[in-house]
Symmetry: C4
């Protein structure tokens, strides 16, 4: 009994280990195939959900789409359970960022058994793609996204100032536009006027609300030019971070290069001078052999 | 009598001082709590005013909203009077930028007693948020906004040239579009055509006025590509300032480095001068041998 | 006879000279007053023309506006004649850029005597503002605009490549959209489809033509993201020029500073070393007095 | 027979060579004239096709336009055959990028004999303009476009991250908007909601779909500000590449300077090495005194 138990345990461990490599591994063919398969499955399942909301498609293929969605959900549920199974600390996975996303991407379908329509929320499983950056050339992607993250964190204060300014401007101008245009011209409330202000300031310009009074048009023109101009601010925010980053790189590069290519810090034993060429045999100042 | 008067005076001074620390202080818990409370009160009062303009909400909760607005107004009025009370130079506060904003944010409600509807202007009290930058991490915010201010002031001339160009282009193309499209296609006047030009140049594009003639569409396409292109100008304006700022930083860095690499801090034993070349044998100032 | 003729001639010359200083001068009070007066007159005359196209205003003040326009035209005609009178080479002024603009800004009003409505073109006199950069702080403005001009000229080839690419993309996608959407969805001709493509690519988005087929919406989404992305190209074009300009400045600065602040090229008469501090009295290498 | 055959062959070779120079040459007058002629022919033929889709023009000049299109097609077909004739490796030309474009630009017209309407696809011959960059100042253009290509390739990973993020955001927010607004407000399906999300995120803003619920407007405002802000990302992507390029240039400049200032070109009389420090007395390589 003891040995079989031990054997089955070690067999289970072996399966667990193999599955772990397939699911979390990147460099093995199996791991790569699994990632690409998962990527395709996620995209197809999202397209299935989308297709179901298009009336023309749904009326023709309703049952097929439902079956497809259940297949994908069972697939992802199995994957979720396997992920828990292979984790050394299952609870840690379950409550991790990706663990919660994995759960949220299967739950809506089961909820739809009780609450019709809720399965549409399954399309949030598009978030699972976040993990699949690694399907592409891993290191480049990680580097780029972490660089963007660093830049965003570094400019947190600047972004807050920017959003603060946008908030104040939009409430101010929104109130002004509500006063100038009034409900008779479609500016039925301040929240709607604020919506108009944001639509204009960000140069989106839906055109569902448009100023019709001369004064309203005048203020809108100022708002547009302002919005057109302050787009330079977020660009500048990122620009500063980039310039800093590049500056840091250039600095460290030039420092390294200076030492490598031209002069070094070896001290002449005879005259104590330093700053010789890397390939120097004799001191430039006293002519003493450097290696002696 | 004398001593009680003196006592009451010093007591008043103490209250004044304590209130001053609460209202203007940043680093004390009481000061921080006051700032956060004020921030929430301002946002809530603005939301109250906004809500009143939304018909669905107003018809149901009209009286409650009015009461809320009066509560906020009394609160802000009390705060305004306390601010005057604790100021050592009350007039200076009253006529300061923030003093005027504080007054303007309570006046509309009182005016509304005589002139219905004017209390809507209370939402301008959103401007009070400007002072509350300090609720967040004070120094970062102040630095960023002052940096933006410096950059904007430094590029005043550039911004003027840009606005001048926008003005000339929009009047020119506006007149042209009025001539080409004419009132029958919605371009009823030159001011409206100028409005259309700005809407197009800033890539807002409401779509309330759209060229229908071939020539009008042709000129509009040129206008769009121009507008799409000259967005680079404000971006460039900020870019120059950023590059200058970074350059200034790099410069001061490199200056320090130059001092380190070519000149050093060795002190001449004879004349006490420092800043000799790293490879100097003799003092530049007195000619004394440095190593002796 | 001779002397009076001579006197009147010299008097005329004096008047001519004085007028020249007023019209073309910048630093005299009279010259500045003339420029500001001209600026206001141009703006007012343009506003008058604009006002005439607004039905509400025109129906009430038609005659007043016409009188105003004639006053401005006579004013500008007088100015034009005086400019010819004071020029030493009148023909050169007449055929100069500003001379032609000056003429074009008065002609439409006279044409309107024969051809009703043509006086609207008088609003092109807004171009006269170009000359009035100097009303503001002259040198800053000139520098900024010439800097922008240099940057634009330097990136001529890049701008051409960009416009070439926009042309090819818009014809290609325009044809595609015409094929996909067809006249039944508002894409009545290829030129209109090209118009739609430019409207989308530049993120203007009027919304007068909107794709309704799934394929059309798919291509439009690609077009939008492309347009949203290639805005980086003109920004980058200007960015390169700015970086170059700043680089050039930093280079020349650091070179000058190196010589001024730290080391110079004086050669020691004793040991032929150079690179002494500017305030050095003795050679850093041999201790010889440098000025001896 | 032999000699005439040989002669005719050499004559054919001569014709082939001359045609080759005309078609592919740039610097000869004939080559330049051919390129400009081709440029004009392509543009005119594209305009002809466009004109045919405009109802007003087509109804009046239908036959003329068809004749023109056939003339252009025969012209381009002749050119295509000549290009094959003059190529030393005709198959290589036929299956090259430009060879396929050349073929595709004549095929639709011949297909239109069997399938009415397909000749419209001839407007894809606008792609032939790609080859005609060389009509303009060749080297500048080539350099700029290759530089843009290098920058785009270098930032491939960044662009992928950006598009990945746009994809995930648009599906997420698209689903959310579908849920919030629903078919009754025009958000009839998730694909349409995704279309709306992209339209808003890229600040295009057609206005054919507009949120009407408070929650939908709130999320849309966040979306707009996000879209307005992340435009900095593509700008930043190009910015990094530009900064790198400029940095590379500056680096190589400073390297040259370093060589000038710290190391010089004095040649050691003993071992012929160069690259000594400016203040060196002895050769770094052989220890020989440099000035002796």
């Amino acid at each position: 009994m003891y040995s079989t138990n031990d054997q089955s345990k070690s067999r289970l461990d072996l399966i667990r280990q193999r599955l772990y490599i397939i699911i979390y591994g990147v460099n093995t063919p199996a791991g790569k195939a699994f990632d690409i398969g998962l990527l395709i499955a996620i995209l197809l399942s999202v397209f299935t959900i989308m297709a179901e909301t298009v009336e023309g498609i749904d009326s023709q293929f309703h049952n097929e789409l439902i079956v497809l969605e259940w297949i994908f959900t069972i697939l992802f549920t199995t994957e979720y359970l396997v992920r828990i199974f292979v984790s050394k600390k299952p609870l840690r996975y379950i409550f991790s960022f990706y663990g919660i996303i994995d759960l949220l991407s299967i739950l809506p379908m089961f909820f739809s058994l009780f609450l019709a329509g809720s399965h549409i929320l399954s399309s949030f499983r598009i978030l699972r793609l976040l993990r699949l950056f690694r399907v592409f050339r891993l290191i480049d992607f990680m580097e780029e996204s972490s660089r963007l993250k660093v830049a965003l964190l570094a400019s947190k204060a600047k972004i807050m100032v920017f959003l603060y300014a946008v908030l104040i401007i939009s409430v101010l101008i929104g109130t002004l536009m509500y006063y100038i245009e009034g409900p008779e011209n479609g500016f039925t409330s301040i929240p709607k006027s604020v919506f108009y202000t944001i639509v204009t300031l960000t140069t989106v310009g839906y055109g569902d609300m448009v100023p019709t009074t001369a004064l309203g048009q005048f203020f809108s023109m100022i708002l547009m030019v302002t919005g057109y101009g302050i787009i330079a601010v977020p660009t500048g925010i990122v620009g500063v971070e980039i310039a800093k980053e590049v500056g840091r790189k250039l600095n460290s590069n030039s420092e390294q290069q200076k030492f490598r290519t031209s002069l070094n810090g070896i001290v002449c034993a005879h005259c104590n001078k330093e700053g010789h060429r890397n390939d120097a045999d004799y001191c430039y100042s006293c002519g003493h052999h450097l290696k002696s």
